[in-house]
């Protein structure tokens, strides 16, 4: 397993949202879709195809794994996913990268407005 998060940065918007959803607790696919929509104020709503394509990639990269625990009244078709410690590190590294982007953007946007030629 690759322990260095740098080759996986920057994360795609879908991967970032999915990892962010799973940072708190294990969730099933539909739960992830709803949480992504909530996080983005409804601006980004990945469908099941997009979600599972990204989940599959994240699982193969060792950032997400299946959580086998399930409660008794769960639909058997539901599967829960959780963040691995490596996924958490990649997420943290990407959030740091985004912070520096936001810092730079703030500096430039607060500066003098460009003059008209």
């Amino acid at each position: 397993m690759n322990e260095d998060p740098d080759p996986f940065l920057p994360l795609s918007p879908a991967a970032l949202h999915i990892l962010l959803c799973l940072a708190g607790d294990a969730r099933h696919g539909y739960g992830i879709m709803q949480e992504v929509a909530r996080q983005s104020d409804g601006r980004y709503k990945p469908g099941p195809g997009t979600l599972y394509d990204n989940l599959r990639k994240l699982m193969s990269q060792g950032m997400v794994e299946e959580d086998r625990r399930r409660s008794g009244d769960d639909d058997p078709r539901r599967r829960y996913y959780r963040l691995t410690s490596f996924g958490r590190r990649v997420l943290a590294a990407d959030v740091e990268r985004l912070k520096s982007v936001v810092r730079e953007a703030n500096l430039r946007l607060r500066g003098p407005h460009p003059r008209r030629a």
Binding site: G29, M33, G47, G49, Y52, D53, L55
Partner: protein, 144 residues
């Protein structure tokens, strides 16, 4: 609409289908009212194209086939042009050799076409063979 979505999910590559088909259908059942069945079907269609074209590596086969066709066509045209430029007069005087040349050209094109088809057929057969073996012993074989 659910039947359409079910078929869209069924048409996904086997590895993806085995892993996520049941969940995708479950999400359709849960979210069809709130998200709209049509948008979920559209997502299923996009996913189908993405999985086959981008993820399964079928595009490599298509590109290889197209590349082979371009090479055969270009090679044939160059062969004909060179033949005309070099020995046009000679071919006119020796009509029989011109007929032999076009016959040879046709034979080469047929042979190369047959080889390309055999390679494509063998590739598809090997893929399905590995997929069958994977079903029997998951983890021992990998398509990617």
């Amino acid at each position: 609409m659910r039947t359409l979505y079910k078929y869209l999910v069924r048409l996904h590559p086997p590895a993806f289908r085995r892993e996520f088909a049941a969940e995708m259908l479950w999400i359709f059942d849960e979210a069809a009212e709130s998200e709209g069945a049509l948008s979920l079907c559209f997502d299923g269609f996009v996913s189908l194209a993405r999985q086959w074209v981008l993820r399964s590596g079928s595009w490599k086969l298509a590109v290889a086939g197209m590349g082979a066709c371009v090479q055969i066509t270009a090679g044939g045209l160059i062969f004909l042009l060179l033949g005309q430029a070099r020995g046009g007069a000679e071919l006119q005087t020796h009509h029989a050799s011109g007929v032999a040349l076009s016959g040879l050209m046709r034979l080469i094109v047929w042979l190369v076409g047959a080889i390309v088809l055999m390679v494509i057929g063998a590739s598809l057969w090997v893929r399905s063979f590995i997929a069958r073996r994977m079903e029997r012993a998951p983890g021992r074989y990998s398509l990617t």
